[in-house]
Symmetry: C2
Subunit: 197 residues, 2 copies
Amino acid sequence: MTATVKKAGSARERLLAASDELFYSEGIHTVGIDRVLEKANVAKGSLYYNFAGGKDELVETYLANRHGVWKDTVERGISAQADPVRRILAVFDTLGELFSRPDFRGCAFMNAAAEARPDSVEMLAAERFRSWIHELFGELTSALDTREPDRLALQLVVLYDGATTTAQMDHTAAAAAVSREMAELLLSRASGPAAGG
Amino acid sequence: MTATVKKAGSARERLLAASDELFYSEGIHTVGIDRVLEKANVAKGSLYYNFAGGKDELVETYLANRHGVWKDTVERGISAQADPVRRILAVFDTLGELFSRPDFRGCAFMNAAAEARPDSVEMLAAERFRSWIHELFGELTSALDTREPDRLALQLVVLYDGATTTAQMDHTAAAAAVSREMAELLLSRASGPAAGG
DNA sequence: CAGGTTTTAGACAGACCTGTCTGATATGGT
DNA sequence: ACCATATCAGACAGGTCTGTCTAAAACCTG
């Protein structure tokens, strides 16, 4: 039964934990394998034993984990609400919690894309992430009784991106509240008076 | 020899032109000095003759130029309008033109910050850029007859950042129009009915 | 044309980075 | 106890990167 889950504390898990901290906080290109190995307390051979694809595969897994964790966090926040409008606003509340964390340094995928080559694993991961974001707001707005759900979804994506970027660049969690207010304004117009703009 | 197109300016100018193209399109860390030298058709010694500070100084100058050019472009767009509301919307129109350019790859300062160490020249340049952005929207909203100009300015910064990030990540210039519409909505509420939200 | 400035080509050092390889050593299931 | 799996330590090769240096050539400008 080698298919058992790797025990906590395995070289693989330590490598991924160290990668997550280092790649996210300092950037993928600026952090070398040796830094990860040292932080994880893992021998070099174990890296290539667990990740035959080398650094690329490590980066790919790091980003896939980030995607999964964030997706779960957002969806948990959404699922606590029943009202379609509140479900949308819950996304911005979750962003606010993210921005308040001391280690927040922006969106891992925006950062990865900023330093990535066109067909790299980073770019592919970023594209997957963006697909999910659009899918997310697409589904949330389609549950609304509004005239142009697609247009609204794109507006919300812009607010999501704006909140994240402003929070990162200006080191202020207030960006979440600001974008949430704008989202509320959009939603009150969309689901309020049937007269569209 | 290959000296046909060679004298298109001093070594310094050619270096800056090549830096601008390469650093912006591929990222600062991923582009080495040798790539810049080859593209600029400049000898290595000339780089250190013109930029004694090496790559750091080249990067610093590249970012300072980007800042200056963009500032001028935005301010030119603003100055073509007299009405305070239109002056604000002009910023988003200018963004739309930027996004439509085939070489658009996001905000040079957001990208630089994503791959930069805390006290690097990139970070300092990014901070200067952010100061200017806030100053810009601060001045534009203070010319408005509205109750909370500072709050409005922050909202506009979020819209500016959201437009830029969405345009980059999703390769769509539509982000400018979307954010412009949201800005219009905010401005119509701010300068319209005196009742604040 | 004389002399300081600018540019060129390329070798070189020193640092870092990824990935490979070897061989010893735990670890865990049966 | 056995044996495959997993991990360790570290040397090593090959690549890239920044920055220095030399010595010659081109460019201005007075």
